[in-house]
Amino acid sequence: MARVIVDVMLKPEILDPQGQAIAGALPRLGFSGVSAVRQGKRFELELDGPADEAALSDVRKMAETLLANTVIEDFSIKVEE
């Protein structure tokens, strides 16, 4: 059993109004020093087996076909220890 994390973020050039709204709210709450916020999605996949090469290759395919829309989103994959 292993847990694989897939993080999906809007591509840098795509407007993220939710992130902007959060960035706008921080100073109002008294937090300073944050110049930008981007909001993304985190998927936690519980694998039946180990996170070996074959499994990670499958996760990559899952991310490309379903978890992320690669027209507007990038993703990254990491194995949780």
């Binding site: 795509i14 407007l15 109004p17 379903l66 027209v71």
Partner: protein, 227 residues
């Protein structure tokens, strides 16, 4: 001659299928219900993907519906020239299925917006717009939270240069869409996707204060009869 048959697709969470079927019937065509789980287009002459919140808009709007068994039939048929109209969630599904380029993202104002919107018809060569006049302004309802059209610069340039932007918002951009884009078509002009709802603007008594949506359905009927 038997009436033209327009398929209306229902996914779990589709909402505007009843309106879509009514609009098709009022135009004089037969509305044929298509179920997402069936690998069967039932021999229809055209397909309408109506709006709603298929799969609750979970993950991304249209992302899960795009893999429905019916789509396995629809995608090749559409690439082969079958006329397909997608409104709102239907447009989102067409983009997720890569039948149309680009994507629909969260409205710039962050709110869901339901309002009667002025729209300019930019392309009257498609299967679904041939009965409009070029540059005609119409009023259709919009009702969405994720309707901001985005695509990379190269794609936008191609859409513009090939005249594939079919509809643009007029009198104010409601969602921050690039280039005020409200709807687009594929290269062949048989697939059209737009965020506004023509099916809610076909009757005097109900829906939006306009009947401009009728043009979509008279267009497709004319196209099918002449085909």
């Amino acid at each position: 001659m038997s009436a033209a048959r327009v398929g209306i697709v229902t996914f779990p969470g589709t909402l505007d299928d009843q309106d879509a079927a009514r609009a098709v019937r009022l135009a004089g065509a037969e509305a044929v219900p298509l179920w997402h789980a069936d690998r069967d287009l039932r021999g229809v002459d055209a397909v309408f993907l109506p709006g709603g919140f298929s799969y609750g808009d979970y993950l991304r709007c249209g992302a899960i519906s795009r893999f429905a068994p019916l789509m396995d039939e629809l995608i090749p048929a559409a690439r082969g020239g079958l006329p397909v109209l997608g409104t709102c969630n239907g447009f989102q599904i067409l983009c997720e299925a890569h039948l149309l380029p680009g994507a629909l993202t969260r409205n710039a104002g962050l709110h869901y917006v339901c309002r009667d919107q002025r729209i300019r018809v930019e392309n009257t060569d498609t299967a679904w717009t041939c009965e409009f006049a070029p540059g005609q302004e119409i009023v259709l309802p919009i009702k969405h939270g994720e309707g901001r059209y985005v695509a990379d610069a190269a794609t936008l340039a191609v859409l513009e240069s090939e005249g594939r932007v079919v509809f643009r918002y007029a009198g104010g951009n409601p969602n921050g869409s690039l280039g005020d884009i409200a709807g687009i078509t594929n290269e062949a002009g048989n697939i059209v996707g737009l965020m506004p709802h023509p099916e809610h603007a076909v009757e005097e008594l109900t829906g939006a204060p306009s009947v401009d949506g009728r043009g979509f359905f008279t267009s497709i009927l004319k196209r099918l009869v002449n085909a």
